[in-house]
Structures are given as C-alpha cells and as structure tokens.
C-alpha cells in the first residue's frame, strides 16, 4: 500500500479524477448501485502486487489440481523415510462392499465412507476407485500421472519464480516491513480484532488504509511460511535434491514426512482460499476486487466524520 497519488498529482489531474469519480457516482446512482456518501479512493495495491497476486492465483490452481492428480497415483501419506504401507497416516481407499465400489477415507486408524467424492468417484458414468474426484484433478481423467507431473513440475518453476519476484519486490519496496511484517502492536490488538471480525465490523477511515493484525498475520504466514515450506518439502521428495541437500531430509524427518507436510501445506492454501473469499465478500466484494484490479480502494468514512 502506498500513499494516495491524489496528494501528489497536479491540480488539473485531480480535477479530472474528481470529475470522473463524480460521473461514476452518477452512473452508480442511476443503476441503483449508489451506496450514498462520498468514499475517497485510496491507491491500495501497486501494479506489481496486483499482477503477482493474479498470476499466483492461477499458478496455485494448476499446482493444486495437478498435485491431486499425482497424489491419486498412490493416495496415502506416511511418516518417516520409507512408506509403512500397513499404517498410513492418511489414505483414500477404494474398496468393494456388497458388490458396489465404495470410497473410504482413512485418517490414522479412523475410517469413514466418502463414496462419490474421496476414494471412489464417477468416471465415464461409473463409480471407480480414485483418490480425488476428476473435477478437481488436472488432467481430469485418471490414471494420468505422467501428465499431472508435467503440469506440476512446469508450474512449480512459475510458482517459485513468481514468489521470488514478490519477495524481492516486497523487501526492496518496503511493502514487507511497512505492510506485511506483524509487529508487537499487532499482537496486542489481535484479540480485539478477532472479536471485531467475528461481529463483521471492519476497519473504516484511516485504519482501513493499512492491513490489520489479522491480515498481516495471515498474509505473512501464507506468503513467507507456507510458500517456502511447500517448495522445500516438494524438493525433499526429489531423490536428486536429497543427494545435493541431505539436510532437507533431516529438517523434515524423511521423504514421506516431507510428502505429508507438502500435502498439509497444499490444504492450508485450500483452507486459506474460502477464508480469503469470505472476508473479501463480507468487507465489500466489488471494492476489494477493484482494488486488486485497478489498485484503488474506497475508504468507508468513520461514523460522525461525514
């Protein structure tokens, strides 16, 4: 987030911009979309952040779906260096009960039926054993391990490059220390913000110009913890990388543990997504979407200020 350019732009441009905003407000009013009250636009996301955000969204989607296709080749997770086939920590099993194909999800020693979604789902109009269903894997059909790997390892490069560019940009531009790095004050404010968020009361006025503690903690963890973790656990699964960097196995407790952590990271990204969407929708979907497309974010005035 940077300073609003209105402060720096020449008077003529500002006037033009205000005319434009006024015109837009009239159109909104005519369409019945007008919310009422002046809402100053604030330049929230720089072009670099916007571009990297959307490319990352697309890359992550391909990574997730091709990753699930790869997972389907052996839909079970283990701990340690080798696979203890009799005791997976997680497994999607396809079995037969009374002549019908059933899907079973196993977590630890706990098993439950998930036919239709996990363990067994429809392919060519028939329920067949497969870990994740075809609508969430890339390619959709199974077994397509070879193709899933091609997509995954090509986009893994893009994911790493996209992330590295963002990290370099964030550190060099000050975005990291100014906007993303959680500080002591953020932790102090955290309990109150959690309550406010639960009551759907979102920051207004000046405080809406900065990420709040919850946002900082979330973005920081997802970008600077989850991101590197998923890359490193991915590399730990590569036998050649294990010969180059044997300490990876030591850090993550073996190749199979690394694979399990990789999967948990992927599902943390998946869990982040609905949380991210819900917050976007609850705190003004159009305003948020616009700020990630054009960079401009409308500030809701604080009560009594208008």
């Amino acid at each position: 987030m940077s300073e609003t350019p209105n402060k720096e732009s020449p008077a003529g441009l500002r006037a033009l911009s205000e005319t434009w905003e006024d015109g837009l407000a009239r159109v909104r009013m005519a369409l019945g979309l007008k919310q009422g009250g002046p809402r100053p636009l604030f330049y929230r996301h720089t072009l670099a952040v916007r571009l990297l955000h959307w490319s990352n969204a697309l890359i992550l989607l391909v990574m997730l779906m091709s990753g699930l296709q790869i997972f389907n080749a052996h839909p079970a997770l283990y701990l340690g260096n080798g696979s203890n086939f009799d005791h997976p920590v997680f497994a999607l099993l396809g079995g037969t009960e009374n002549g019908e194909t059933v899907g079973i999800t196993q977590i630890g020693s706990w098993q439950f039926h998930t036919t239709g979604v996990l363990g067994a789902s429809e392919q060519f109009g028939q329920i067949v054993p497969r870990g994740f269903p075809s609508w969430i894997t890339l390619p959709g059909l199974s077994p397509e391990l070879a193709l899933g790997r091609l997509w995954h390892f090509a986009f893994a490069w893009l994911f790493a490059i996209n992330g590295a560019i963002f990290a370099a940009y964030a550190f060099l531009s000050g975005h990291f220390s100014r906007d993303l790095l959680p500080r002591r004050a953020d932790f102090v404010r955290l309990p109150r913000e959690i309550v406010d968020h639960a009551r759907l009361r979102f920051p207004k006025g000046e405080s809406a110009k900065h990420y709040n503690a919850l946002q900082k903690l979330t973005y920081f963890s997802v970008i600077f913890i989850l991101g590197p973790l998923i890359v490193l656990t991915g590399l730990t699964m590569s036998p050649t990388m294990d010969s180059a960097f044997p300490f990876l196995l030591f850090i993550f407790g073996g190749r199979q543990t690394a694979r399990t952590i990789h999967f948990l990271c992927a599902f943390s990204f998946v869990a982040f997504f609905p949380a991210h969407m819900i917050m976007v929708v609850l705190s003004g979907p159009w305003n948020n979407l616009r700020s990630m497309i054009t960079g401009r974010y409308a500030i809701e005035p604080e009560k009594g200020n208008v």
Binding site: L33, A73, H74, S83, L138, A146, R149, M237, R255
Partner: protein
C-alpha cells in the same frame, strides 16, 4: 440488500464458475495438444540442468541404517517375466544368465552372473522412490557399473547407456520388453550398480532377478530389472519409441530425478 446488488452477485459468481469450468476444461484440452506437451516437456531439461548444478556428478544419495530397512520390499511393475526362457533360467538358478555389453564400445563383451558377482562389489542401504509417491528402504549389493562400462572402452561419441530387459510388458508373442536409459553422469555415478542381492539374499524374481539396475538419484522406473543387455549409444532417438525408455515412450519424463 437491494435487488441489483443481488443479481450482480449472482452474475459474478456464475461468471466465476463458468470461467473456472472453461479454464479447467481448457487445461484438459491443452493436455492433448502436442505444442503444450512439447512446452511442458521442455521444462524437464531446465529441471535436469538445475538439479545437476546442485547435485553435480558425484553427490551421493543418502544411505540409511540397517534398522530402517523395510520388512517387505515392495515390488512394482513386472513381478515375474514368466516367459519360457526366463522360467528355464529360474529353474537352473540363473547359471546361464549373461549380460551383453556392447554398442559404441571398442571391446564388447559379456558377463555371466558368476563373473558379475566376482567383481568388486558395493553394498548400499538406500531409499527406493517410486514415481507414484511411495518409498521403500532396502539393502542392495552389486557391482558398480562404471568399471564394467570402462572395461568395454566406450567411444568418444558415447552419450547414453541403454538397458534391455527380459520382461515383456504385455501378453502375446512379440510383446515389447522393458528398457531404460541413463546418461553417462548417472551411469558412472558411484552408487549406480548392477545389483544381484537384496537385503543379504539373492535378488528375488519380483525385484528383478538375477540382475537389476540401481541408480539411486533417480525414481524407480529408471532402475531396469531383469537386465540382459547393455548398449552404449550416442542418442536413443531411433531406439524403439525414441524417448529412451518404456515409460518414457508412454509420456513419462526421461529425467527422473524429481
């Protein structure tokens, strides 16, 4: 909430769902297009160069403690070649098994199982990583491939080493047999051995008896089982499907370090 807002939200969510559906169907379609496969496949060379940069020619795959050996080493792929000639070899304990070493070499020769076992051996407890995602730890003993290749004096134009196997990959006469290839870096790696023993016993049929390849920095499909012929070549473009291996001809990457 006012009416237009609702319909706009409906529109937006429908648009998003439609875009996603088109994008996903698009990716499946794209997966069929040769130019996309070409582009995705080209990344393999980038990955190989990057991994070689860090792993070099001689970084060793991790070796493990005896206590980590899997109680049962999982066998995958062919579990028994089952051909009449292979059955005959099983019956006489592979006494007549021979491995031919030829191709772009000055002195082609062949090794019997007994001759192979008489060569200086290397024993290594390593992790076998299947392309499917699972791993299994076992103790392998065998003869390092490097001196075996050097014995034949490879010509300067040699680039790859092909491994031809005894196991047919489908039923019926004329079925293609398994084959694989390594480049010279992996073939000459100190842990690359022609293994004849697993966990202190003669290599079982399911694991590739009497001789299988171990290339410990690669995935399992590179490690040809039932090896009966080794050929040094300049390029594998005109060998079988032209991709350097049975699974490679079916779309798997030739470089299997990841």
């Amino acid at each position: 909430m006012s009416e237009p807002r609702n319909s706009r939200r409906t529109f937006l969510s429908r648009a998003a769902a439609a875009t996603t559906a088109v994008a996903l169907a698009g990716c499946d379609d794209l997966s069929q297009k040769p130019w996309v496969l070409n582009l995705l496949g080209r990344v393999e060379h980038v990955t190989r160069s990057a991994q070689r940069l860090f792993a070099g020619t001689s970084a060793l795959a991790p070796e493990f403690d005896r206590s980590e050996i899997a109680p049962v080493f999982r066998a995958n792929g062919t579990l028994d070649p089952g051909t009449p000639s292979y059955e005959a070899h099983v019956r006489n304990g592979f006494r007549d098994w021979k491995i031919e070493i030829g191709g772009l070499v000055e002195r082609p020769y062949s090794l019997s199982l007994a001759q192979l076992q008489a060569l200086p051996a290397r024993t290594q407890i390593t992790r076998h990583d299947c392309v499917e995602g699972w791993s299994c730890i076992g103790e392998w003993a065998g003869a390092p491939l490097k001196p075996i290749l050097l014995q034949a004096r490879p010509k300067p134009s040699a680039n790859y080493v092909m491994f031809y196997c005894a196991d047919p990959m489908s039923d019926g006469p004329g079925a293609p047999t398994y084959y694989e290839s390594l480049d010279l870096v992996e073939a000459m790696h100190p842990q690359t051995i022609l293994a004849y023993s697993l966990n202190g016993k003669a290599l079982p049929v399911a694991n590739g008896a009497p001789v299988r390849l171990r290339a410990e920095r690669q995935l399992g499909y590179k490690m040809a089982k039932y090896v009966e012929r080794i050929e040094v070549v300049e390029s594998f473009d005109h060998v079988r499907g032209g991709k350097g291996g049975y699974w490679e001809d079916l779309g798997y990457t030739w470089y299997a370090g990841i």
